[in-house]
Symmetry: C2
Subunit: 486 residues, 2 copies
């Protein structure tokens, strides 16, 4: 897309010269580092030949000085493992300590048998920013996730958070790829809304004390932060057939466990002209399969970092990507399985038709009974929201949850009621103010279509493929009851 | 990536049969419609041969019934122009009206010389959802943008909003592509924050009246919605070298003009190990050039829809993508130009060194003097935020705004102060509570690097390439003082 003559250098930033001088532009990976930015370690390791003189920049992860030689490990976040720096003259290691930012010039050499395939024989090291060894909180040793959470501004340099961050980036890319390949249009649904889709009463409300307009009246009505973009997506599905979003959602959930965040990312999709729940299941399954395959192809070493000592996790990732359809049962069958579960399996809550599935039930189904992803469909209407399409049995609705080992509930969706009168009846039956949803119900007046959609918690997806227990370690800046550090 | 055997059909939804039956899988565009979803009109027009039997679904845009023939136009949001349906038996048009949702079976035919290259000779039309012609608000005629704003749930079906929506989708894709090709990592910065980066006092604050935890105390402190993800991005730039976000930002801006939204999308980026402002300018310029080129390549007809009767806009899009560097002047030079502007140019505010540039000044520079994009760099320190890096002159800071015809200020950025002591002095001088920024300033203790970044308003970018005057027409669900419809 960029003609190569566009790679003009308008300036010669300090850190570029050495690298550029040592190779021709045509030998570069043309997908990378077209601008006057320094290439990342990943780029250098993947594209530069050994023997090349390179200049790298990054942060020191560890230093080891011996009598006649010194070693350091440098990272810049582009690879799971940093690159080893060999200093044949230990004097050039003077002043180096963990956490320093450095620029290093040297010769790229192969490093067979080590974690990283290449290393650098350093000629010069320039310390850009010091890090006091007495106070720098991140040492080579293994830190607990709790400790890392307390140093939120430094933890991105830790191996675990660094791998999570790259996986988030690649997983999002994989999701966009999946949706665009299947002709979905991305819609930017709002964060501020007058609608509380789930009706759970856990929405954050807005205040604007500093504004010139009276506090409660900036928008002329009460507004809250979105708990789901579904209803807004349905508006656009009525014009674009297939739409999706990738947005933040918010819940003022007072729970202090590691399962909930007050602010999290969701991918939601809506498809018009869809009559069968099975088609939605196919879209969902293929979304997860292709996104996970994208991670295997583009972030394999980060995935392996989490699964190498975790056999069930490795098996799960394999299961998510293989061709075998995910298991699928109805809610009624699920209740039956749970009621007949191994007598040793003692549930705190008795599984009973008409009641929601508890976490312990979901965990049993996904992690034990099916030992893999399982769709549970057709829940009782009474425990589901107003917009779901009733099944002909008059008791259940055409909906699904996808349960997986790890986060349990990964995804939920349904066909939506597309008939105006039936929708209005359902709204009333759920005790919701009909007028507040005029904008939504009136879609059924003008070219309504059978349709459906779903939402997947992005952090839960990442939690699933990393096996991390606490969702606070999945998002860059976790927000939860009592915690909003910065 | 998907082996073709994965295209198993787990179900046969109503709308697929006819199309699938009429072609082999190998003749499909393998990038599209892998699942059991109906292909879009765009897909059919681009990949199906004339003479093929097709089944399409969409919404009627217009109907014309004559004695022996009837015509209808159908759209599904995938193309700027719908497809023409020819009914040789006018009886099958019975009941059709603008706004209906339909399924149509027929034979694809070429349609030379018309707006759309293909049309459909209909065999059968099935009306899925009616639209009362008496009340359906969107007719074939041209509606004003003000009127469309009042029918926010139907306007996505209008040609203008439909084109804007596709351009948003493609522009976002182009941005992700640019950043990933240049080894930036996407960071999901928070919406809820205890920090007010710009210090403008226009942040929305949160309340949680329904929560079990006392109202002001859900997070144990006052929090607000983010006005910029910059400071959070800097945290990650200190570990990943180059990072970006694509997030919502929020301003409780009481202005009632068409230039501001209370909720809007921004793309922001931070680069570590960058000493020269010129390098940031290069990244910014190339981001805009490559994203606009991506639109030209992937949404050309939507761009043309806006520029075909707007010669200056066509020229601007051309200018944004050509190889000639964007104009670049210092703030001091800008003041000089403004003070010597054509005497006929009467400014309401006198341009004076030390004062911010007014909109009228920016408009003069971009739309009149340079007639294209122009970077203005090195503004006086006093009118800029605490984090910007001072220039050696002691009076200005190393920053830039990019001004363009249309929205004027498109983008702003700077090098950031990377020295701990100087940053702390600046924070005090700006009257900000030092302790509240400990998490940010302490980044300078541990391997600080010269760095910088910028932010671009996404709606302003779309406004620029569409020439639309009111920013409320750029975002799916506009929020502004007094307005939050749903």
């Amino acid at each position: 897309m960029f003609p190569s003559s566009l790679f003009r250098i308008q300036n010669t930033p300090l850190y570029r010269k050495a690298v550029v001088g040592s190779r021709s532009l045509s030998s570069c990976n043309t997908n990378k580092t077209r601008l006057g930015l320094t290439p990342t370690l990943r780029n250098i390791i993947e594209t530069e030949a050994t023997g090349t003189e390179v200049t790298i920049s990054g942060w020191i992860k560890s230093v080891r000085v011996q009598k006649r030689i010194a070693f350091a490990e440098v990272s810049d976040g582009s690879t799971l493992r940093g690159i080893q720096i060999i200093m044949n003259d230990p004097q050039i290691a003077a002043g180096l300590s963990t956490g320093c930012s450095v620029e290093i010039k040297g010769i790229l050499a192969s490093s067979p048998g080590r974690e990283q395939s290449k290393e650098i024989q350093a000629n010069s090291i320039y310390i850009i920013g010091n890090a006091d060894p007495e106070t720098y909180p991140l040492q080579k040793k293994r830190h607990s996730m709790e400790f890392l959470r307390e140093i939120g501004n430094i933890r991105p340099r830790s191996q675990t958070i660094s791998a999570v961050t790259r996986l988030r980036d690649r997983a999002e890319t994989g999701l966009h790829k999946f949706f665009h390949e299947n002709e979905f249009v991305r819609i930017h649904t709002p964060a501020i809304t007058a609608n509380d889709c789930e009706g759970g009463g856990e929405a954050f409300q807005l205040a604007t004390p500093g504004s010139k307009i009276p506090e409660s009246d900036f928008f002329g009505r009460k507004v809250n932060l979105t708990v789901s973009g579904q209803l807004h997506l349905e508006v656009y599905a009525n014009a674009f057939k297939r739409v999706y979003n990738f947005n933040q959602s918010f819940r003022a959930e007072p729970s202090q466990t590691g399962r909930h965040l007050s602010e999290f990312w969701m991918v939601e999709a809506e498809c018009a002209f869809v009559r069968k729940l099975a088609l939605l299941l196919e879209v969902e399954e293929q979304m997860i399969r292709s996104t996970t395959q994208y991670l295997v192809d583009n972030a394999g070493s980060d995935l392996e970092f989490f699964s190498q000592k975790n056999e069930p996790l490795a098996k799960l990732v394999q299961r998510l990507t293989d061709r075998k359809p995910y298991a699928q049962i109805t809610y009624t069958e699920a209740i039956d399985i749970l009621q007949n579960a191994d007598p040793l399996q003692k549930f705190a809550f008795k599984p009973e038709w008409g009641q929601g599935l508890q976490s312990e039930h979901e965990r049993y189904l996904a992690a034990k009974h099916f030992d893999g992803p399982v769709f549970v469909t057709d829940y009782p209407a009474e425990i589901k929201p107003f917009y779901m399409l009733p099944n002909p049995d008059g008791k259940t609705v055409a909906c699904m949850d996808l349960l997986v080992p790890g986060p349990c509930e990964l995804l939920g969706g349904s066909l939506r009621e597309h008939n105006l009168e039936r929708l209005q009846t359902s709204i009333k039956a759920h005790g919701i103010d009909e007028n507040s949803l005029d904008w939504y119900t009136s879609l059924r007046r003008y070219g309504t279509t059978p349709h459906g959609g779903f939402g997947m918690g992005f952090e839960r997806y990442i939690q699933m493929v990393t096996g991390l227990e606490n969702i606070r370690d999945i998002i860059p800046f976790p927000r939860y009851a009592g915690k909003c550090l910065c």
